[in-house]
């Protein structure tokens, strides 16, 4: 049976989530392309709500594996970067509480996925035409889907 995986990319207070069936080879079959925003107000409560939301989503939709884009080094870390990293920690914790979870660094993916860098694959429309099918995948969600392709290749 083909497993369902979930790719997650945190950016600011938002999370791009792509759920897909991931066959051992061939295109991903996208089931859902979602954006989850952090609850307005105090961050501790918002993190708690997001943790529960992600854990519920993964367990209720029988997601077998979660791939999260890892934090990257920034020479000029701002508060926004640090808060995004906080949220990434919440995402990793929630996902790992209910499913096998890996954090993939984009720099590492660029070195191992293929001849081009990750961003070049992400920007290439023809690449996506061949690599995904199923539900519509928004341009802004390609990075989350790319995490799934990279995780499959690294298996």
């Amino acid at each position: 049976m083909v497993e369902r995986w979930l790719g997650l990319v945190v950016s600011g207070g938002k999370i791009a989530a792509v759920e897909a069936e991931v066959p051992s080879e061939g295109p991903l079959v996208v089931q859902a392309d979602l954006t989850w925003g952090l609850q307005k107000g105090d961050r501790p409560s918002a993190y708690c709500v997001m943790h529960r939301h992600i854990a519920d989503y993964i367990s209720e939709n029988r997601i077998a594996r979660v791939v999260v884009k890892a934090s990257a080094i920034s020479k000029s870390a701002t508060l926004a970067h640090l808060e995004a990293a906080e949220l990434r920690g919440v995402v990793l914790s929630a996902a790992a509480s209910v499913a096998k979870t890996v954090a993939l660094a984009k720099a590492n993916v660029s070195r191992t996925f293929g001849e081009r860098k990750a961003d070049e694959y992400i920007a290439d429309a023809s690449f996506w035409g061949a690599e995904v099918t199923g539900a519509n995948l928004r341009g802004g969600s390609r990075e989350a889907a790319f995490m799934l392709l990279a995780a499959r290749k690294s298996q």
């Binding site: 609850q39 107000g41 709500v49 529960r52 519920d56």
Partner: protein, 324 residues
């Protein structure tokens, strides 16, 4: 028919009454303190009909036992009474009771409504994903456990036939969606509607809500959400969100609990006014830093009212008299 288990439950005091039976506090050997909902054989109910009802209840209970979630009241068991004239549904006991009394006392703060509604959407989403509908979301069916967690209760034990059959009875039908009055069945979107009405009621409280025409009298006329009056401290974004939950066309509503959850996350909770509604007066109070801000609206007579607002450190900031 299916054989129901028999067990010795210790019954305590009556803690609630619903459309389908009474609820008692009790204990059992496995779970300790439990809530027991008793479905009694009705006068004149034939053996055949009663046995059929027991079978249906058992089927439902087996379904509900699978609905284990932090924000859903856990159903433990369905047991036949020794006298064979009642069925006891044994459930998780929530010591803080339902939201009904708080609702009757007056409006909830924005923060509290968002917290409760968020937890309810977690529970509702799980029910929907597992193929169930709630069909009766309202303040009295949201229970609060010892930790303050809101949980959905009293779900799944009613069929569409019963809901439509109860269409003319009091209370129950107030949360029926527009399309249900038109003869269509219940769905995830009718649960979204009922949650929308519940959120509106929590924001305004019973003293306000009871002055309005009963929804069961006006929902069928259409544009129910567009015609709701609002307490002035309810932000526009809240109003838009609730109106979207109450669109006549189910396709125009949030399509599921997850979409409602996302909309709730985007709602502001400041300024978080505490509000009291009386017959001729509405009072607001909030604290910010060391200052306490207050406002009062008074009805002076037909079409006439006055406003007053001030803070604790600068007594009268502004007053005015208005006429409609």
């Amino acid at each position: 028919m299916t054989t129901l288990l028999k067990a010795d439950l210790a019954f305590g005091k009556l803690i609630g009454k619903g459309h389908f039976g009474e609820v008692f506090l009790g204990t059992d050997d496995v779970h300790g303190q439990v809530a027991i909902k008793v479905f009694r054989r009705e006068a004149g109910e034939t053996e055949h009909v009663w046995n059929g009802r027991k079978d249906n209840l058992l089927q439902e209970a087996q379904h509900l036992k699978k609905a284990t979630h932090r924000n859903v009241v856990q159903v433990y068991n369905l047991l036949e009474s020794d006298s064979d004239d009642a069925i006891n549904l044994v459930m998780e006991f929530c010591p803080r009771g339902s939201l009904q009394k708080d609702y009757e006392a007056g409006p909830f703060t924005l923060r509290r409504v968002r917290d409760i509604a968020t937890e309810v959407t977690f529970g509702l989403n799980v029910l929907h994903i597992r193929g169930m509908l709630h069909r009766d979301i309202k303040p009295s069916n949201i229970l609060v456990d010892a930790n303050g967690t809101a949980k959905l209760a009293d779900f799944g034990l009613v069929t569409d036939d019963l809901i439509l059959g109860y269409g003319s009875s009091t209370g129950y039908s107030d949360h029926l969606a527009y399309e249900v009055w038109g003869g269509y069945g219940t769905s995830q979107k009718t649960d979204v509607w009922a949650l929308g009405v519940t959120i509106y009621r929590m924001l305004h409280g019973a003293p306000w809500h009871q002055k309005l025409p009963a929804p069961k009298l006006v929902v069928r006329n259409g544009r129910f959400g567009d015609n709701l009056p609002w307490l002035p401290h309810i932000p526009k974004k809240w109003r838009r969100t609730i109106r979207k939950m109450l669109r006549d066309d189910p396709a125009d509503r949030y399509q599921n609990a997850l979409q409602v959850h996302a909309a709730l996350a985007d709602l502001p909770i400041a300024p978080d006014w505490a509000c009291e509604v009386d017959t001729e007066e509405v009072r607001w109070c909030r604290e910010e830093g060391k200052r306490r801000y207050k406002a009062v609206w008074r009805r002076l007579g037909a079409g006439r009212h006055e406003w007053e607002s001030w803070s604790e450190v600068a007594p009268i900031l502004w007053t005015g008299i208005g006429e409609r």
